[in-house]
């Protein structure tokens, strides 16, 4: 249990610095981070006494405790143990699990796959979302309909998206695969690691383009019309206006999305991998978070799985830190 809860909760910590967050958990993190920074406005006026805020926070803190802190601590403990799945025998083994992990070539190749996967997924998602946002911003008729259609994939459960793509691209029976083979490409994600990797990149991006798209559309709308109009009068075409004016002005959103996409790619893509390729062929798509699941829940190697989730947790903390430290500082928020 700890391993899974843990990874599910990680994005909370990593994404906490972002601005538009949906889940109550995230809101909590954001609020407390904000409190530390400023003592002004709403807070000072309404919450002079500690009890009310405490009780308002308590339910969420309780959930956080239950689903994040307790599992994380248990994972941390388990990372230093060798244990029978049923808990009959437990031995303290110090850093043996970590040593085994870092000695294992399989783990390093998984890390390498993860790096390629997250970067490719990030680039693909962001560029397509940007293209769509740019295009749909220039459509006047039926803009709402386009937007709705573009947002639909977000409502599809990752497992269903994964199975659908696996089927469409299955080299024996998939219609898209047959099309690719018709074009002369020897498409076979069962025997070609790059094909398999590109398949999960596609699946993960397809699911996440919508999320990026919403933010980009909102950001583009906030670009002041006056500047765009004056550029128009100066003779700048739509592409030039987009590249020279809109794009620089939405950098905060872009940076936010890059971080979110990394977090998504690192921690939330497990279901897609499980449904699309199951980490195969030969570990070619076994990204780190999928390995945590596979080692913990399929092969019952709890010690190693816990050690891996601790490593991932450290990575998430590092990402959050980097975001606060470097990214937030450089981005221009004055739009």
């Amino acid at each position: 249990m700890p391993a899974r809860n843990n990874t599910a909760a990680l994005p909370v910590a990593a994404g906490g610095g972002g601005l538009r967050l949906r889940q109550p958990l995230r809101r909590l993190f954001l609020k407390s981070a904000g409190d530390a920074q400023s003592e002004s406005g709403l807070k000072r006026a309404h919450f002079q006494e500690w009890r009310l805020p405490f009780w308002l926070l308590a339910p969420q803190l309780f959930i956080l405790l239950l689903f994040f802190f307790i599992p994380s601590i248990r994972a941390l403990i388990q990372a230093f143990q060798l244990t029978d799945p049923f808990g009959a025998t437990t031995q303290w083994v110090g850093f043996q699990n970590f040593e085994r992990l870092f000695r294992s070539s399989v783990y390093w190749s998984s890390a390498q796959v993860t790096l390629i996967f997250t970067i490719a997924q990030n680039v693909l998602t962001l560029s397509i979302a940007l293209l769509l946002a740019f295009a749909s911003n220039h459509i006047l008729r039926g803009r709402g309909a386009y937007r709705t259609v573009l947002l639909l994939p977000y409502a599809v459960a990752p497992a269903i998206a994964g199975i659908m793509l696996a089927f469409l691209f299955n080299p024996r029976v998939g219609p898209v695969a047959h099309m690719l083979q018709g074009l002369g490409l020897d498409w076979d994600p069962n025997r070609n690691s790059w094909h398999a990797l590109s398949l999960i990149v596609m699946a993960a991006s397809w699911k996440h383009i919508c999320y990026n798209y919403i933010f980009l559309v909102a950001a583009l709308l906030s670009v002041p019309q006056s500047i765009l109009e004056s550029a128009y009068l100066d003779g700048a075409g739509p592409v030039q206006r987009f590249l020279r004016i809109s794009l620089p002005m939405i950098t905060p959103t872009l940076f936010f999305l890059i971080v979110i996409n990394f977090v998504y790619g690192l921690f939330e893509t497990f279901a897609i991998v499980d449904a699309t390729t199951r980490g195969g062929p030969a570990g070619a798509t076994s990204i780190l978070v999928y390995k945590v699941y596979q080692d913990g829940f399929v092969t019952l190697d709890l010690g190693s799985s816990a050690a891996q989730s601790v490593v991932l947790m450290a990575l998430a903390l590092l990402l959050t830190f980097a975001q606060f430290r470097f990214v937030e500082r450089r981005v221009n928020y004055s739009v």
Binding site: F67, D84, F86, A88, N170, P171, R172, T299, L300, D301
Partner: protein
């Protein structure tokens, strides 16, 4: 939050169920991993038992795949909410035996006054599930791999039936592809570690691991990276890279590629009979596993699962479990189960009864697995496998072997790496379970 409500709803449902059955019969839970047609058969089986008497009610609950059932059981056991009976695959034998969470079946049956004689079960089942003649689990669904083939395809390619040895079968498969009869002469099953490697070593009488494949102790080591097994993986690789043997991949299960008529052959569990009978719209048949030329083939080994009784329940519940097991071991039940599912009859009496009915004259392919399991005298290499951390090692071996298929490494190196990874897991299992069987 959703999870939270789920827990609440679950607790409420349990409370209601508890109230309604309080004064009725003793109810026990049976978690299983059978889905689709097989899941329906389990429901029928349980209904037969429930209708046959009034004291006990068995509730069958499907919990997904074998892995998911085991995971669910572990989580439930740790939370002290385990079911009475759980179905777990043959691979998890040592995990279950050494879990400290089970009541050995022999012990349970003796205590409840239904002493069970291990010798009533067929030999390959006993050698797998009994330690020193004492059954640890209740044999339930046992299978073994056989070769299913599309007779239309074989006829079209000019063959009567598949050859008995690999040396005869391979050119046939090549010909089926070359003559354009089918683009896929064979489809690789998802559990090929079991059907193509473990069973291959049993049938051809070569050691897979030392200490009689782990039967003699936890200090066993893998040795399959030499001799015939290297040749077998080379053969598989050749078949895969020439496109004669195809991989199903995700999105479709291998047996579907056979039943749809796309692939001409598949080596699959005899339990696939259910799927083949239901879906195959062509003239199909089955044959025994191919073996190496010049070898007198030994028995194959079982797969499938057994029922484990979990600790921590009241004597009344165990009485119900024993009554259910007693019902399962009955010849009538066994014959029905065997014919309804395609699994082998686990008792000798059930096999004899099915034979006496003339069942195998009408359904010759149903007997192949039984005959194959019982042929010859089991050697040290064909007794079965008793491997710790088996799920883990299975994944590692398949990963390495498929790396060889992909051409990422040479076959020999892939097998060396598989052995090294397997042995590392074995040593870890030995370290954790020092002093156990």
């Amino acid at each position: 939050m959703r999870r939270f409500y789920g827990v609440l709803a679950g607790a409420g449902a349990m409370l209601l169920a508890g109230l309604s059955s309080a004064q009725a019969a003793t109810e026990i839970e049976f978690w299983h991993a059978m889905s689709g047609a097989l899941g329906e058969r389990v429901e029928e089986l349980v209904k037969k038992f429930n209708d046959s008497q009034t004291e006990y009610v068995v509730k069958a609950i499907g919990k997904g795949t074998y892995d998911e059932v085991l995971n669910g059981t572990i989580a439930a056991y740790r939370a002290k909410r385990q079911p009475e009976i759980v179905q777990s695959n043959e691979r998890s034998f040592l995990t279950m035996v050494n879990s400290g969470a089970i009541v050995p079946t022999s012990e349970l049956m003796a205590q409840q006054g239904h002493p069970i004689d291990a010798s009533q079960f067929i030999a390959p089942v006993v050698s797998y599930y009994a330690i020193d003649g004492k059954l640890q689990a209740m044999p339930f669904n046992s299978s073994t791999p056989i070769l299913f083939y599309n007779r239309d395809h074989f006829k079209a390619a000019g063959f009567d039936k598949p050859g008995a040895t690999w040396q005869e079968l391979e050119p046939q498969l090549d010909a089926i592809k070359a003559k354009g009869v089918s683009k896929c002469a064979m489809v690789l099953p998802g559990d090929y570690e079991w059907s193509f490697l473990e069973n291959y070593s049993a049938v051809n009488d070569i050691p897979y691991a030392t200490k009689r494949n782990g039967m003699d102790g936890l200090d066993t080591s893998y040795v399959f990276n030499k001799g015939k097994l290297v040749g077998q993986v080379e053969r598989m690789k050749r078949l895969v890279s020439s496109g004669v043997m195809q991989l199903a991949g995700q999105g479709i299960i291998p047996i579907q590629l056979f039943t749809s008529g796309e692939c001409s052959t598949i080596i699959a569990s005899t339990a696939s009979h259910a799927a083949v009978v239901a879906a195959a719209k062509f003239d199909w048949s089955a044959a025994e596993l191919p073996y190496e030329q010049g070898v007198t083939p030994k028995n194959s080994v079982i797969g499938g699962a057994a029922l484990w009784t979990l600790k921590g329940h009241t004597p009344e519940k165990y009485k119900a479990v024993a009554a259910f097991y007693d019902f399962l071991a009955k010849t009538d039940t066994q014959v029905w189960w065997h014919q309804a599912t395609g699994y082998v009859p686990v008792t000798t009496a059930a096999y004899e009864a099915a034979k006496a009915q003339g069942y195998y004259q009408k359904n010759p392919t149903r007997e192949i697995a039984v005959v194959q399991l019982m042929r010859g005298t089991p050697s040290d290499n064909s007794l079965g496998f008793r491997i710790g951390n088996s799920n883990q090692i299975n994944v590692a071996i398949m990963e390495e072997v498929s790396a060889a298929f992909l051409g990422k490494k040479p076959v020999q190196q892939a097998l060396d790496d598989a052995v090294a990874r397997g042995n590392e897991s074995l040593r870890r299992y030995e370290q954790l379970n020092a002093g156990k069987k």
